[in-house]
Symmetry: C2
């Protein structure tokens, strides 16, 4: 079997996004034991930077040794016990996944459905909360990767807390690219993934549990179903500062080297500056796509900067276009998930990739390919609109 040498692709799909080369290089550093004092220092560094990025004071902030889905499972299975009632607001594929996982925890799940493409409606949450004697958790997705919708978090936090429910938020596609302030906004549990706006490969899930969540963990009647994702045990390894670190599992050394470097890069740029970069590139992309005559999927005012969903035009087939972008331009964009398969494309501008240059390259390539498949676009229209949008954005923040 020969060496595996993949092509260099521009990953503008729903993730993974391209990792910063410095991150990949950091992953080649020599391995250390999981109780080596240098390695424990690295865990402390990672935790400190994650706390700062999540905007939380909680020491129970760490990276779970699995992808974003493992973070979703860790969030739900540490809060929910069999018989608990959970409200899950679903406005896309990953909300549905939350209901599946919450059910596997033995919880009774009330699913509040919002049309895909729209944000979660606080009023619907409020009405549902009022129906029950005790709601253990309210869970939703901040930036729905399946639809490109961003749901505002604060109002729902207040509602959940007024009913003494724990607020669980999926920030897989938002952390590092979109503003989030866990403590100020009242989010009790929040998790993300490394392969989207953090500029690292997939494989780790940054997570944080605040005071309200910690109290629930400390007073559970049963152990969480998952040993691997048991936050009390993970905390005893990661977060112990006064006592001996307790072995739980062998930490994924190289991935954590990469995450530390990825976070270091984020703080070199500045998280606020990074959010503005994601805003600028998203605005220029959206303007360019609309100038090409394409229709954006997510409701105006609730569009996620890190991921833009766009309707596939009538008379154009999904897969041939995506295959041509890969084959001729080495650009990957994403197809639709679940019920949106064949109906939308998903274009990610995440982490390293959220640049105006990438927007121009993608728009140019997409124009060419769509023309080839029968659209009659004026070449350059998208690029010109993207340029204008960038100038307008820069003026707006100046």
């Amino acid at each position: 079997m020969r060496e595996f040498i993949p092509q260099e692709r521009l990953l503008l799909g729903a993730g993974p996004s391209n990792a910063n080369p410095r991150v990949l290089r950091a992953m080649t550093q020599p391995l250390l034991g999981y109780l080596d004092s240098d390695f424990l220092q690295l865990l402390d560094d990672v935790r400190a930077m994650l706390k700062s990025l999540f905007h939380t004071h909680s020491d129970l902030t760490l990276a779970v040794s699995g992808t974003g889905t493992s973070g979703m499972e860790a969030s739900l299975c540490n809060i929910l016990e069999p018989g608990d009632l959970a409200i899950v607001a679903v406005n896309g594929f990953f909300g549905l996944r939350m209901t599946d996982i919450a059910s596997r925890c033995g919880a009774t799940v009330v699913q509040i459905n919002t049309e895909w493409g729209r944000p979660v409606d606080p009023e619907a949450i409020k009405q549902e909360l009022a129906k029950h004697r005790r709601v253990k958790a309210v869970a939703l997705v901040h930036g729905e990767t399946s639809t490109g919708v961003l749901t505002p978090l604060e109002e729902i936090a207040d509602l959940a807390h007024s009913y003494d429910a724990t607020y669980i938020v999926d920030a897989v596609t938002s952390l590092g690219g979109v503003d989030i302030a866990v403590d100020d906004w009242g989010v009790d549990v929040c998790y993300s993934g490394t392969q989207k706006c953090l500029g690292c490969p997939p494989g780790l899930s940054p997570i944080t549990f605040g005071d309200r969540a910690l109290q629930i963990i400390n007073t559970r009647q049963t152990k969480p179903h998952s040993f691997y994702l048991d936050m009390a045990l993970l905390g005893a390894y990661w977060a112990s500062t006064t006592t001996r670190r307790a072995y739980h599992h062998t930490a994924p050394t190289s991935m954590l080297y990469g995450l530390r470097e990825g976070l270091r890069i984020i703080f070199e740029e500045g998280p606020e500056q990074r959010v503005r970069r994601h805003q600028a590139s998203a605005q220029s992309l959206r303007s360019g796509l609309e100038a090409l005559g394409l229709k954006l999927f997510a409701e105006n005012g609730y569009r996620l900067d890190s991921l833009t969903a766009v309707y596939i035009p009538d008379s154009i087939e999904d897969e041939p276009v995506r295959r041509a972008l890969v084959k001729d331009y080495n650009i990957e964009i994403g197809g639709g998930l679940g019920e949106l398969r064949g109906k939308i494309w998903r274009i990610g501008l995440m982490g390293e990739n959220a640049t105006h240059g990438n927007v121009l390259f993608l728009l140019s390539a997409l124009e060419q390919v769509l023309n080839r498949f029968g659209s009659h676009l004026s070449l350059g229209n998208g690029v010109a609109a993207a340029e204008r949008a960038l100038v307008a954005y820069q003026a707006s923040i100046a």
Copy 2:
């Protein structure tokens, strides 16, 4: 915050072991999407090599996106349902962990205890099996990382199957360094970790489910507690050859690049040759340690080649010796886990590190350090004995 530049350590503890530099370099290859055809080919390559290494024909062979402990959890939670009865044979720390995880699955767990340092006794399993109307699974650890004991697998397989129980085996510290033949030996579920004898960083868990296990998965009454580790869903992504691959979670790209390269290195060397290399270095290490007057922990005849446990001599303290080995020689060895803390050291010769040269280096360093802390060893005794043992081993296989 500065760049993290760890020292180059020789990791002769219980894992992680040092990774092959080719593996680390492979991890710097550019990322690909999880449905990219080149990446799907990589998954097929990994699966083919894992099947060959496990000696199984089962297509439900893949790498779980977590460390060895996630493989343990995947094995148990896909087989066990609430109310099932499981027999777990415990002869060390990781057997205990199996009972914890099996209990979290809702199973009733009968724990058969064997003194730590001895292999599991088939007679005890047989007697326990005879007591119950229906036993769903028999689970044990092949090579106990906490004690350095290797339990023979075949006789217990026959016993389990004669009672229609599924046989689950932990091969975290054996696969790639010690003989294992999943199909021939009647193992139904087997998992490992990448950071021991496979020469990769920690973070993935190779796993295989045979026909008997697959039938149980296909006829479960309830979903597994874990969505992340649900083998039916993982199989639909990894193992689908005829139908479209179904997205489950974003595969940890870089780790899988590394695993493919690690497996490629194993097949370049040849798995049998690799097992002999582990045997040779273990024999020379054991002879050297005994020549230093140290006492081996595991029962003779059942010693694990990849990990040797040795009693800490009277009058010698555990941690100062290990700290000196790190500080002065950059060698890490492991301390005892659980009830063996402060009583034994654990010396791993795994994957890349299973070399005679490493044995000589460690023995020399250990002699120096033990002398410094008050032992009166004749310098060179250990090394000379290790040399003689190597010559004897080579003659025995010639």
